[in-house]
């Protein structure tokens, strides 16, 4: 459902979201911030690895592999 807020880890392959917020004091979120995954940035999940973890996400034209535990530190609003 569009607009619903959920952790990035909950998006399935092919789904998109816009970053709302994150766990500011989590090391993973800080590193994502440095890479430019800021509130307002659009992010999509490209693939989920064979055993369900990690996920491959795309934002700002770059692709990143990250574990679900780390992706859970980012809150996104679902798009489309």
């Amino acid at each position: 459902m569009s607009g619903e807020i959920c952790p990035l880890a909950d998006l399935r392959a092919g789904e998109r979201g816009r970053v709302e917020d994150g766990t500011a004091d989590h090391p993973a979120f800080q590193r994502l911030l440095a890479m430019g995954l800021l509130p307002g940035t659009e992010v999509s999940v490209v693939q989920v690895a064979p055993l369900g973890d990690p996920v491959e996400v795309e934002f700002r034209g770059m692709r990143l592999s990250l574990r679900k535990a780390d992706a859970a530190t980012v809150q996104v609003a679902r798009l489309d």
Partner: protein, 717 residues
């Protein structure tokens, strides 16, 4: 500025942006490059001549920010802040920026500039950006940022002259990048922090350095500022950060928001993306290669193909080298006929022993061809993505994948590559298990055993399968080992794992050939030095003592035969049986008896602890001396098949059976027989852990060999 002093320039940038490619171009060096993040893990210097000036260029590991959470990023931070022992701050910095991803790359540039360092931006990979119709207006960007921006294509050497001019200009006029308009709260917090540090008697720091301490959770800058040992900086940090919190800023995310906001303004209109998004090659390939089903199938198929090819492609070349070694022995032998001892040393010892190792050069080349291919296409990161979960549960980081895969080439670069792992304990675990990966030096043992015992009985496919399996034994064992180390020794907590997936790139043949050549050279040098030295020692221990009584006894016993060849062979055998090596081997053989090893294999195994290829040389020497001089050890394979037990319960049966061959391979797969690796482990961790690694692997190898032999004899008869 002083014209005589050499200018020191640092290369920084996000991982995988082409810093080392540029460094190699500018300095004529040949440092390792590859299409995945984290290739460079240490600083490397070279000399760069440009515009009549000589500069010292320093290539640094890539980083996304100066938060320096892993040892390799720490090297970059320490160098830039002038804290690396014996190094001053650089005079200027070239920030290498991926032209397809300018904003994110400029985040690091902005942090570097904040340290007060003159900056030049190299807009690298502009060829790839052009192809993707991403336009970057370098002139506009330069005006907005306040520093030179030079378009470069490092792979083709484009933009290098302009870069040289820009750097000299930056050094002369100290061009600094536009500063972030820091909110009043940040300025206040920095002042507060400075005052607090001064009160504690710490070294005074520049505002940019203070901001590092303020914004990064645990900045290494604080440690280097001479914060009084023993006292806790947390209260001061917390009080400074409270100033930010009170003004509505989250201290640990404020910097990213502020810098990206400024960069958004500075790059507006200077960077434009195509209206209609084109589907890139990378996207198309990834739909298959990282797919949860297809991805795994392709991965397994590729690995199998690699090992099958190592075996299949190198056969003819091996035979050619083999032939050359034999011809060399035949050619040398008559020259030295007058001095039988010297003849044996040269023919059986040096040529037979070290030559026996040279034969495996083709396999090494094929293996490195594939490794270079994996590294340069960008597939490595995909492998890490597919495999992460399988290794993650035991405490290994997804980032352990790259060091572990590098260890398939050689554990030394593998252990060094662990520097990209943030968590010290995950890093230590990776250092401990990396030597379990089957390095290229094990290949000769596998190929020798498979060629002599598996292929003749079970065929070429089975040979490929066994080779593939041997390369997986270490990996399969590594997982429980890592689990146990984490559970009982280190108690690691899970760590963030973020790995950028580089775009797929067509590898350049030159890069691949160079890497193959480098490796081949290393292999040959090793065979020519360490292995020759070991071979000479082994030869001496097999050749001596030579009391005449032995010869006389055998001659007398066999005098009825009237067959001089048979007598000669029997004499040689009798000499070996009472040699120093045989005495030592017999004394130690009981240790390996449960694995089915005779004394010759036992000494081979023991002699191989400094370098594992020595086993091949040792067997070559032993059988060389045993055989007749002129048709000696060239064909080690058939010599092995003609070896029988002379005493004990299996007297008269062949020594080398399929279970014995498998047990030898398993032993070599699991054992840490490499002095150089132990030394590197000691350097990267400490001697205690290096010895721990050595001991556990040796024990594991012995258990593995015994288990293989015992089960093997039961099942295969």
């Amino acid at each position: 500025m002083d014209k005589s002093r050499s200018i020191r320039v640092a290369l920084v940038g996000n991982p995988n942006t082409g810093k080392t490619t540029l460094f190699n171009r500018l300095t004529g060096s040949r440092q390792k490059i590859g299409n995945y993040p984290g290739v460079t893990v240490d600083k490397k210097s070279g000399t760069w001549q440009s515009g009549g000036r000589t500069m010292t260029l320093v290539d640094l590991p890539g980083a996304y920010s100066l938060a320096a959470t892993s040892p390799d990023e720490r090297v970059a931070l320490d160098f830039l802040t002038g804290h690396l022992s014996g190094e001053e701050k650089p005079d200027a910095v070239i920030c290498v920026v991926d032209a397809s991803n300018v904003v994110r790359n400029l985040f690091l540039a902005s942090q570097v500039a904040d340290l007060g360092l003159p900056l030049v931006i190299a807009l690298n990979m502009s060829d790839a950006a052009d192809k993707a119709s991403i336009r970057v207006d370098a002139a506009l960007l330069a005006r907005r940022l306040g520093v030179p921006v030079v378009r470069t294509v490092a792979t083709r050497g484009e933009g290098i002259e302009a870069l040289g001019k820009a750097v000299l200009h930056a050094v002369e006029s100290r061009t600094l990048m536009a500063e972030v308009p820091w909110p009043e709260a940040v300025q206040r917090a920095v002042k507060y922090l400075a005052a607090g540090l001064e009160k504690e008697g710490a070294q005074s720091l520049a505002p940019g350095e203070l901001r590092r301490i303020l914004f990064d959770r645990h900045s290494a800058v604080l440690e280097r500022a001479g914060w009084p040992a023993g006292s806790d900086p947390e209260p001061l940090l917390a009080a400074s950060r409270d100033i930010l919190t009170a003004a509505g800023w989250q201290p640990l995310s404020a910097e990213a928001l502020l810098r990206y906001e400024q960069l958004g303004h500075l790059t507006a209109d200077a960077v434009s993306f195509p209206e209609k998004r084109v589907r890139t090659w990378t996207e198309r390939l990834d739909t298959v290669l990282t797919h949860r089903v297809w991805g795994l199938i392709v991965f397994a198929a590729m690995m199998f193909l690699v090992f099958q090819s190592i075996y299949a492609w190198s056969g003819p070349f091996m035979d050619a080298i083999d032939g050359a070694v034999v011809r060399m022995q035949e050619w040398v032998a008559p020259w030295l006929a007058a001095w039988p001892t010297l003849q044996s040393l040269v023919v059986d010892g040096i040529v037979g022993g070290a030559g026996g190792v040279f034969i495996f050069l083709p396999q090494i080349l094929v293996l490195f061809f594939f490794i270079a291919l994996l590294e340069d296409t960008g597939y490595m990161a995909r492998g890490a993505f597919l495999m992460d979960k399988m290794f993650g549960w035991c405490g290994l980081n997804g980032k352990s994948f790259v060091p572990m895969l590098s260890s398939y080439a050689c554990a030394i670069p593998g252990v060094l590559a662990t520097r990209t792992i943030e968590d010290p304990q995950a890093r230590l675990t990776t250092i401990l298990v990396s030597p379990l990966m089957s390095c290229s030096a094990r290949l000769p043992v596998y190929v020798l055993m498979i060629g002599a015992f598996i292929e003749p009985t079970y065929g070429a496919i089975a040979a490929g399968v066994v080779l593939f399996t041997m390369h997986f034994v270490g990996l399969v064992v590594a997982v429980p080992v890592a689990w146990a180390v984490n559970k009982f020794v280190l108690r690691t907590r899970p760590q963030p794992f973020l790995l950028e997936m580089p775009p797929y790139r067509l590898p350049r043949l030159r890069d691949i050939l160079w890497r193959m050549w480098e490796r081949a050279r290393e292999f040959l040098v090793r065979a020519g030095t360490v292995i020759v030295a070991m071979t000479i020692i082994i030869w001496a221990l097999v050749y001596f003592p030579r009391p005449d009584a032995v010869r006389e006894r055998v001659v007398e016993e066999l005098s009825v035969l009237n067959d001089p060849d048979a007598v000669d062979a029997a004499v040689s055998a009798a000499y070996i049986e009472q040699s120093y090596l045989a005495r030592a081997g017999r004394a130690l053989q009981p240790i390996f008896a449960p694995a089915g090893f005779d004394w010759k294999i036992t000494v081979g195994v023991l002699a191989s602890f400094p370098a594992r290829e020595v086993i091949v040389a040792t067997l070559g020497t032993i059988y060389g001396i045993g055989g007749e001089v002129d048709e000696s050890s060239g064909d080690l394979r058939s010599a092995l098949t003609r070896e029988f037990w002379t005493d004990g319960p299996r007297a008269g049966h062949p020594v080398f059976t399929v279970p014995v061959a498998l047990a030898i391979m398993v032993f070599f797969a699991l054992c840490l027989q490499c002095g150089a690796t132990v030394a590197v482990m000691a350097k990267e961790a400490n001697w205690g852990w290096a010895i721990f690694g050595f001991v556990y692997m040796t024990v594991l190898a012995w258990l593995g060999a015994v288990l293989t032999y015992q089960l093997g004899t039961r099942w295969l008869g």
